[in-house]
Subunit: 150 residues, 2 copies
DNA sequence: CACGCCTTTGCAATAAAATTGCACAGATCT
DNA sequence: AGATCTGTGCAATTTTATTGCAAAGGCGTG
């Protein structure tokens, strides 16, 4: 994991659709040598996967919201049960167990408010062990970064 | 944007490293026809970009935290100024303006607590117009999805 | 329904890229 | 110094992407 590997990882986090030949030139290696590095980074698991990122405004699910959840009963199994339900929801894009007053934070991507309504119904009904929750609608996304710069 | 386009988008959000020939077979098209669809989806901007996703546990910045921020002065320019500062921080991976008691929510990716300390110093010092903030350390990541399933 | 128009498709040829074997250079350890 | 291991570039080979073209399907209009 030297300077060139880092350079490659940063390049590929920005744009993984470039050809190997192209990237090889940028990092100053021959195509074959560059390819072998990328393969090594993939096999080692440092590069987890290569994916397409859609433009959310051109796709569905334009509305984003954050929800903080306080559970009634804390403890491993209760936490696990709630997370399992939340994670199964398509509208839930991120789900975290956190420290502090709040137990769980969810990030939602919604088509419309009907979907929000239905989701709340499923997640926050009596039996699901939720004491209370706070919804924050996202007004503006100032940054949303999947990359980890090295 | 028909059934096959949606299928392609879902495929590529899962794994964009597959060859065109491979994907063509899966969606039941000839390679050339499939390629033209993908190119169209790219040119139209529905596919924003193709990127490598790193395994965070194998990279740096293992510690994640969420911060909710309440500003002293609300209003467009103050909000904008704070977001600008926050967004410039490498450790800030997501930044949102939200409705409710809280004004801003930040997602952090940290190397260690020293970095957290230094970041708070920069973001939450007097002149930056922050009334108060709450930190939630992320204990467990149950879901973290970049995809928008169609 | 017939017609023209537009889009999408598959095939085949071509161009470009990825992949592999191989020999060599540099670093490290003994 | 010698042995070993890793990484490199070159060249040959295989695989993939790309493009022209003719045909098929869909759609609205007369």
């Amino acid at each position: 994991m030297d300077r060139i590997d880092r350079k490659l990882l940063n390049l590929m986090q920005r744009d993984a659709s470039r050809t190997n030949v192209d990237m090889a030139e940028e990092v100053g290696l021959s195509p074959s040598s560059c390819l072998r590095r990328v393969q090594r980074l993939r096999n080692s698991g440092i590069i987890d996967r290569i994916v397409a990122i859609l433009n959310p405004t051109k796709a569905e699910r334009r509305i984003k919201a954050l929800i903080t959840v306080e559970l009634k009963l804390h403890g491993e199994q209760h936490m696990r049960r709630f997370l399992k339900i939340a994670v199964a929801e398509e509208a839930v894009s991120q789900a975290y167990a956190v420290t502090g007053e709040t137990d769980v934070v969810l990030m939602l991507r919604l088509r419309d408010m009907e979907e929000f309504d239905a989701l709340c119904e499923r997640l926050f009904r009596d039996q699901t062990n939720v004491a209370r929750f706070f919804t924050m609608m996202i007004i503006r996304t100032a940054k949303e970064e999947t990359a980890i710069w090295l």
